[in-house]
């Protein structure tokens, strides 16, 4: 790996030889549009949106799949490039439903963003259009291939990142589309419902069923936190609208998962708003647990602790702390046991 120096749109960029033009440009704050690119996977070079001009090169080069070399002179946004990109977008839109109004991915759609940026309102290429059946063959992931741009991201992420390979292109030419073996429902494939395909799909072709209609990107507030399930510690963004978590995503290349989650991390949030959540302290009276105030509940516990301390001493009490609670709460609970009550009878389910 050597240091290389190149010029991108007249900006002097210093980087290393393992970088592609696209990576080097993005690191330098120069945005090259793309569609089939996702940092979690190997470059694919299918969509040709990220083409650039390189001085001395024959033809235009896909910047996602071209490594930088020393002395390279790159232009990313010439009139010629913009004209070609516009044509590609028009071709994509020629077989794409114009239902952005109700599409789940509006505001989070790379094709919509491209059409917007390049001012493509309509297409010159009126022709045949696909009308596939919407596939909701499982409770989590819905596929609408009318919106597929054949970037292969779902196929590649399932194979390259998840190592499962549920999808591949089926049919050829105009009929080519990602599919499962023998078009079986996802529940009958090795699918792990991680939703990595949802996270990478640039359009609304693959979406999460539980968050359908629950909020546009600009209507939700994203809160970065740590997944509450296993010990991997994946970083997640809770999408919150009007006090309700409506979706979970993971920031790309951040934390242990680097933007990838499992089925629990991505779809295991609804318990937070479950109607069976405890909402008030309960105290057993005449054999029944009945709602009481915090004052009464805490008073009853404190009285009882005093009684146990009098009769049995501190070791007549035992505390179970929690591998589900935060560090700070665990710290406070062992402090309560040791400093306030005076016992080392404190443990949690580390062994279970």
């Amino acid at each position: 790996m050597e240091q290389v120096r190149l010029s991108i749109d007249g900006v002097d960029v210093v980087t290393t030889s393992d970088r592609t033009i696209l990576e080097a440009a993005r690191e330098a704050g120069i945005r090259i549009p793309s569609l089939c690119y996702d940092r979690r996977m190997e470059p694919y070079g299918a969509c040709r949106i990220c083409i650039v001009e390189v001085e001395g090169a024959r033809g235009l080069l896909p910047s996602c799949a071209t490594r930088v070399t020393d002395g390279m002179v790159v232009r990313t946004n010439t009139e010629e490039l913009r004209r070609i990109r516009r044509t590609i977008i028009e071709l994509l839109l020629s077989d794409h439903p114009k239902d952005c109004m109700t599409c789940e991915s509006a505001g989070n759609c790379e094709l919509q963003d491209l059409a917007y940026e390049y001012g493509v309102k309509d297409t010159r290429f009126a022709g045949e259009q696909h009308h596939y059946e919407v596939l909701a063959d499982n409770p989590l992931i819905e596929r609408d291939y009318d919106k597929c741009v054949l970037c292969g991201r779902c196929i590649r992420i399932c194979r390259e990142v998840q190592g499962v390979g549920v999808y591949d292109f089926v049919n050829r030419g105009f009929e080519a589309v990602p599919g499962t073996p023998y078009n079986r429902p996802l529940t009958e494939t090795p699918c792990e419902f991680c939703g990595q395909c949802v996270s990478t799909c640039p359009t609304g072709a693959i979406i999460s069923i539980p968050s359908k209609g629950k909020g546009r990107p600009w209507q939700v507030k994203k809160v970065r936190t740590t997944c509450p399930y296993c010990g991997c510690g994946c970083q997640i963004d809770l999408h919150v609208r009007d006090g309700e978590i409506v979706e979970v995503s993971s920031p790309v290349m951040v934390g242990p998962g680097q933007g990838n989650l499992c089925v629990k991390g991505r779809y295991g949030y609804a318990f937070v708003h479950h109607p069976e959540r405890l909402t008030t302290p309960l105290l057993r009276k005449d054999g029944e647990l009945v709602p009481v105030t915090w004052e009464e509940a805490l008073g009853a516990i404190a009285n009882r602790i005093h009684k146990v301390l009098d009769e049995k001493g501190p070791d007549g009490m035992a505390f179970l702390s929690s591998a589900r609670c935060t560090n700070e709460e665990n710290y406070l609970l062992q402090k309560l046991a040791r400093a306030v009550v005076g016992t080392n009878n404190v443990d949690h389910c580390a062994r279970l």
Binding site: P256, K264, G299, I305, S321, A339, T343
Partner: protein, 540 residues
Amino acid sequence: MTNSIDDLEKAECILVIGSNTTEGHPIVGLRIKRAVMKNDCKLIVAEPRHIRLCYYADQWIRHRPGTDVALLNGMMNVILSEGLADEEFIRERTEGFEEFRKVVEQYPPERVAKICGVDAEDIRRAARTFAGAERAAIVYAMGITQHTTGVDNVLSLANLALLTGNLGKEGAGVNPLRGQNNVQGACDMGALPNVFTGYRPVSDPQVRETFEKAWRVDYLPGNPGLTVVEMMDAVLRGEVKMLYIMGENPLLSDPDIKHLKEALEKVDFLVVQDIFLTETARYADVVLPAASFAEKEGTFTNTDRRVQRVRKAVEPPGDAKEDSWIIAQLAARLGYDMGDVTAAKVMEEIASLTPSYAGISYQRLEELGELRWPCPSPDHPGTPILHVDKFTRGKGKFSPVDYKPPAEEPDEEYPLVLTTGRLLVHYHTGTMTRRIKPLNELVPENRVWINPEDAEKLGVIAGQEVAVESRRGAIKVKARITEKVPPGVVFIPFHFGESPANALTNPALDPVAKIPELKVAAVRIVTGPDMERMSFVSSD
């Protein structure tokens, strides 16, 4: 983990033992798969069940449940006899090698093959692959620890890493996968009966003095307390009168549910602080409604010692409160002022009392996103790899470990081995995931996995409801006939309260770690009219 999750992709060889990684720790599983697919890492899976990682493995060793020490001693025997050990590492960084060698010499592969039910040649091959790699990592989970020989199993893995010089460098290490979001943190914070924060022993008078001063109390007890399974026994003996349980559901997670029910019924006063009325909370005298992870600030420490932020996104429902508020309120009623218990403030106190967390603060976490302990000072970058130049105790210690069979082996009366574990879509006692409709739709009910050979002998067909019975109780559950379990072994996940696997498991403990043997119990399967006379345990 001695090393980091990211490090796994740098390994040339990974030994996964006692971990169904892609279901229990899917994102670590993903990194292991990537190491194989992208970097040609050689994966060795040692596991009685056929797990998904077997598809990616260079070699799958299907040893009998509870024979891990024998298997590892056999591998190390081969490494020694074929001269594959890292002699320089052993000479410079370890001690106790000679005593260790004497024990391992008694485990030639042919002897081990008989104990483990595997081929001697497979043991040789695994040993050569592991020792032949420049960087070899060991990954394990509860399949190693939940045995009466749990400590011996872990020591054997440490021996293997020491023998091959696979500690203190990239792409190597001994890497336990912690099963819960903050089980590492709860341990770090001293939610254990024998240590304060940072694993400093309560028996050390100097350590106690430090905490007495900081906490403004005259006296802290120096006798180690009771572990969770011991607590329940102490309740039954009348020694413990009151239990205070925060965010745990021992009724489903602990071995021998009947025994646990007796304890929860007997205890004079039970307080449960949780987000749902769990199976355990139904026995409580007081139930306190707590805030969930999305409703509070704080930190979790993950399996590779990474301290990361938890942030409040929504308000808790109704009158539910943060656990920290509840604890401080209770302390106040007992005459102790905990002061400001906002998360950032508590972390300041933790850092001031815990050398390994001394450099961790909310301000730094905000800037960096994560810090791995030990992080001894505010300018320390954190420690992705442990034991780089020396071990905590100086030299790495070889521990001579002999194979001991599980506490309960199959016999004529209970001829099958039961092993328990997790499924991908559900989590622990199911309190959260079983309440999530789409997840519960994917896996709505429990199954006992039975090998086709056993199923044929028993006359059991797929989907048939059978009884599984151990010396401690019986449950009713439908059968899944699959070669994923070997003949003689059945598997039941423990997420399901209506057919709780832990009604059957053995509460026998490891003598040191006090961990119960949840991975091996002797059971039998009962079918047809014989089921009618039986009584079944459920969590209700």
